[in-house]
Point group: C2
Chain length 209, copies 2
């Protein structure tokens, strides 16, 4: 199972990869931050679907190739700009690694571990609040819709896979809301392993249809 | 199944009951509104558990008997003060009317109907946003914890009934979040009857443990 830090550090790790342009460390950091700032403005103005790497590059005053160099694809730019501790690709790949029959269990374990981890949990809580306030951040909503639903649905298969993926996400968000945001009792003080154990068959049922 | 308006109107209906003190209609309305205003201040200051009918009466400058006369018990004052379209007592009684074996189905149907109804749906959406913002309204959190969890757990029975009640609530809140707040697709545009049909066995599983 992926360590929470792996997903959180993935975009940052890329800047140390091969092909890094010459220049001092401080220049690279400034360029990277400039791209992230331009990305946040672009996502806020056009949402996730409407934003483009080209427009982000223009906003930062750099070549689009440099955005690709630092972050890769648009979803990676979004993950870095929003400081998301979840990478839908890694999450879904991990969940389905042992086949769809174990995906409920793997998803439940990964979900609980991300939320219980001090760094990723704090960040997820902040996102949860921002995303729900004022009817939800449109860029975040589109990102979850486009990336997480699509990747989960691909793993599930079948004609109603997208709806089942949404229902699976709804159960996960509901636990995040009651346990970590509202802190309802007794769910808030139940050990994480017990929550994962109870969630597993429910998520599996959503996945199986 | 109870009409959404029944729960919404219940507190208001009480003021036309027997034992109404003498006075013009306008006086009664002013008294009632004064009590509701004092109740909102009291719940905001002390939360649900800490608030008392006596303190609410003092805040409104009336006798505690008058608060009981207009609203009944503390949970009814809270429902009226927060303009909640859900009455946990009616909701749970309705859900378990045909036995625990049908409670998942009844809960799913009632939940979808309340959210799809223009009046109650709008109000639920507003509560959902307020309750989640800034870590959740403490009074609302305590009310859900004390009233909804306890009543659901009573209907379920067994040593882990309260946790199963929380998980049931988590699934309902998760659907509210994805379908009505975030409006993820395809769950947002799926017919309500289909959502209720898919939720029923999930809720039943939470209830059965």
């Amino acid at each position: 199972m992926a360590d929470p830090k792996t997903a959180a550090d993935a975009p940052g790790a890329r800047r140390r990869g091969p092909g890094r342009p010459p220049g001092r460390r401080g220049d690279a950091s400034r360029t990277r931050n400039g791209i992230l700032e331009a990305a946040r403005a672009e996502f806020a103005a056009r949402g996730y679907a409407g934003a483009s790497v080209r427009a982000i590059a223009r906003g930062a005053g750099v070549d689009p190739a440099l955005v690709h160099h630092y972050f890769g694809s648009k979803d990676r730019v979004f993950i870095a700009a929003m400081d998301l501790p979840i990478d839908p690709e890694t999450l879904v790949t991990t969940a389905f690694a042992q086949g769809v029959g174990h995906a409920g269990e793997r998803l439940a374990e990964t979900f609980v571990r991300l939320w219980e981890h001090p760094d990723t949990g704090t960040r997820l809580l902040a996102i949860m609040r921002t995303a729900v306030l004022d009817g939800g951040d449109p860029a975040f909503r589109e990102f979850v819709g486009a990336e997480l639903t699509a990747r989960l649905a691909e793993g599930i298969g079948g004609p109603d896979a997208a709806l089942r993926a949404n229902l699976c996400v709804s159960q996960l968000l509901g636990v995040a809301l009651t346990r970590y945001v509202l802190r309802l009792e007794p769910i808030a003080s139940t050990p994480g392993a017990e929550i994962a154990r109870r969630l597993a068959p429910i998520l599996q049922r959503h996945l199986n249809g």
